[in-house]
Subunit: 111 residues, 2 copies
């Protein structure tokens, strides 16, 4: 299975990178909206520390997921499809074989 950019064609790499960029924009925009909403409900210091914990956790998760040093992989694309930051329809330009792997992984209950 193609799991990193070394094994991807240049075209596939480019498609995957664009898809990741799109997913990143969606996920971070959703986080901005969520934090606006959460922040409006803050009334005491424990709410502030809870928000702080939540932001630390989301930052760790987002930074790790979209780390630019990480190669695009079918696993990451599948994760983003599963999390609904991408749709399979947005990956139609990948080779049918790669797309099928992403689709299969995204459906897997063990992923």
């Amino acid at each position: 299975m193609k799991t990193n950019t070394q094994q991807w064609t240049e075209t596939e790499q480019k498609i995957a990178q664009e898809a990741l960029k799109k997913a990143y924009t969606r996920e971070t925009e959703a986080l901005v909206a969520e934090i606006n909403q959460k922040a409006s409900q803050i009334t005491q210091i424990s709410d502030i520390w809870a928000l702080n914990d939540y932001l630390n956790s989301r930052r760790y998760s987002i930074d790790g997921k979209y780390d630019s040093r990480e190669s695009a992989s079918v696993f990451l694309l599948a994760q983003l499809v599963k999390e609904k930051w991408l749709t399979l329809d947005e990956l139609t330009d990948l080779t049918p074989s790669t797309r099928a792997k992403v689709a299969a992984l995204a459906k897997s209950q063990f992923f």
Copy 2:
């Protein structure tokens, strides 16, 4: 100089603890108001990470300052007076000598 509870009378300790409690409430209430205001201006992910950094820093500072394992000290009281979370008028029940030390430290430009 009296710098920890071992050297304070029980009455002075109690006065200092009540003053710290008051300062903590003021400082954390001010932080809640500040975060409400900052959060309402969040429009992009970089604002979120800036808020996250700010909260980490404030939490570190507040947790350290009011750490219950730490003994009350003239240094902490002076710091709180300098930061305007306490006034010297609220420390009139301390012995004149302790209060004078707090006042002197709070005025010091090197503190």
